[in-house]
Amino acid sequence: MTRALSDVKRRRIDELIAHTSDAGGVSLLRDAGRRLVRNPTAIVGAAIIVLFLIIAIFAPLVAPHDPVQRFPELTQNLTVDTIPGAQAGHPLGSDPLGRDFASRMIYGARQTLFVGVLATLIGLLAGVLLGAVAGAVGGWVDAVVMRLTDVMLALPSLLLAITLVALARESSQWTVIVAVAIVNVPIFARLLRGSMLAQRESDHVLAARALGVKQRHIVSRHMLPNSLTAVIVQATLTFAVAILDAAALSFLGLGDPDINRAEWGLMLGVDGVRYFEVRPELAYYPALAIILVALGFTLLGESIREALDPKNRR
């Protein structure tokens, strides 16, 4: 049978096909990415985070002053029950020790980022390592790791952090960071293990194994990358919880003992609460900053999770 279809029409068909069918055949990630960009909540979350990162990274350029320096023009009017408000050169006035509050708020972004990122990262790395080993090796290693996470999960998160701080040999910023981080270890471990177990039985892993790929390579090239999306989502959400937990510890008097450090949780939990009636701004600004940043990370994390959810692919 000969075909009398003209080239023009052929091209037209090709065009139409290309046009109609781009909903299929696109990779899951690209698809998720597209949904993400179109999602206003994700945009808002990302915008907050970007702003936060910019302030944190460029704090020395943005802040008018050194955050730990005490200024005579502030201390001269400072007493235990009056804290000077805004004045020339100090747009947000003084903190309880005669330091520039605006600069402390700005540097606060940096310290808060530092605490949040480290707490998340340490928890993530330890958790992922444990989870990966448990998931990849299986057997008794798996059983031991899971029992361990059971014990850790037996205590509610903040309670575990409080206990860890109480059980720490020293109190320092690192005590807080590590305590908050350890709380997240079992969560990451279980997450990764679950995802790896699911993949161990999946077709592409079975295929790789059948082809004689080494176990190490299967884990690092096939299983880990696929598990990481879930881990990334969890990390985004963990960041928000980490800075809230750090603030709670400060409030309980178990936080970072160095009040020279401008960290929002510390500023809110210690000065903000103590001087609430003298100058409520000392509480409002750090609280607002924490809420915003936590909100930003939660929004983004939830949006990524939603975008990756296959149920939303249609």
Binding site: R147, D150, V151, L153, A154, L155, P156, S157, L158, L159, I162, T163, V165, A166, L167, R169, A240, L244, A247, A248, F251, L252, G253, L254, G265, L268, G269, G272, V273, F276, A283, A287, I290, I291, L292, A294, L295, T298, L299, K311
Partner: protein, 335 residues
Amino acid sequence: MLRVISRRLVQLAVTLLALTTLVFFWLRSLPGGPVDALLGERATPQTRELLTRALGYDQPIWVQYGKFLQNVVTGNFGNSIRTGEPVTEVIGRAFPATVELAVAAIIIAIGLGVPLGYLAARHRGRVLDNATIIVTLVGISIPIFFLGYLLKDWLTQGVHVFPPSGRISTGLDNTDVTGFFVLDGLLTRELDASADALWHLVLPAVTLATIPLAIIIRITRASVLDVLDEDYIRTADAKGLRSPTIRKRHVLRNALLPVVTIIGLQTGALLAGAVLTEKVYNWGGLGTLITDSISGSRDYPVLQALILLAAVVFIVVNLVVDLSYAVIDPRVRVR
């Protein structure tokens, strides 16, 4: 079912033993500790030595551990350093306070969270839904001790709508039967005491409920949306059933399954939240006890027992959740 329970109980025992041992040895290795805590600024070195001997700290560590273990097995956790009472008594008193608070918070969280989550799902994408989502997001992003402070400042200071702290008005001299003050008032027919206790309960419970409420709303919403997509809802529609029947019989029951799990997980979060809430409202429960036994006093016997208690509560609650799951979901029942 019995096998599940007994397996969990064994698991509980092993977890507890591991925790106890860990905590014991860890605490012994810390600086300061009971001797420091029992002695004020005024102790002489002689007194310090006397105390070390009196507490048996001069004995080998394994002797101490043996004694400790023997005590723990018989339910004796020693005495509180701070108050000198048996730890079991201290905890026994704080426990109902926290349970009362937590139950009130859970009632608020479920009572508001499930309907709100359901409404949000039914009006998906509309104003009510978006408003609810924003509120819940802020709810989980706000440091709750700060929220407590704000509520307290607004509602107890300028205008005395609620009492600022405590579980009951000072000097009311209520009769203590169960330790749950609202219930006690009813049992003894001291209705004023019951009302007073209820009135004291409002702000702390609302504060504590914030996070679980937000989470329950979100879970309910997501779960209802999932269920509404299910084929059996289409079947129910095809039967011509009326909307209320479908909602009650087909949607809600299925949608509540994940909510039940979350409520179980939230008891842990509640305990953690109680630490903050109770501090804000001077509520004499476990949360206050934890703070008091760490901050400043290092009351290790109490702390030790509290860690175990938290683990027990968490594991037991999860067991209960699993069992209740079996009751609600017939698929789990047969195993």
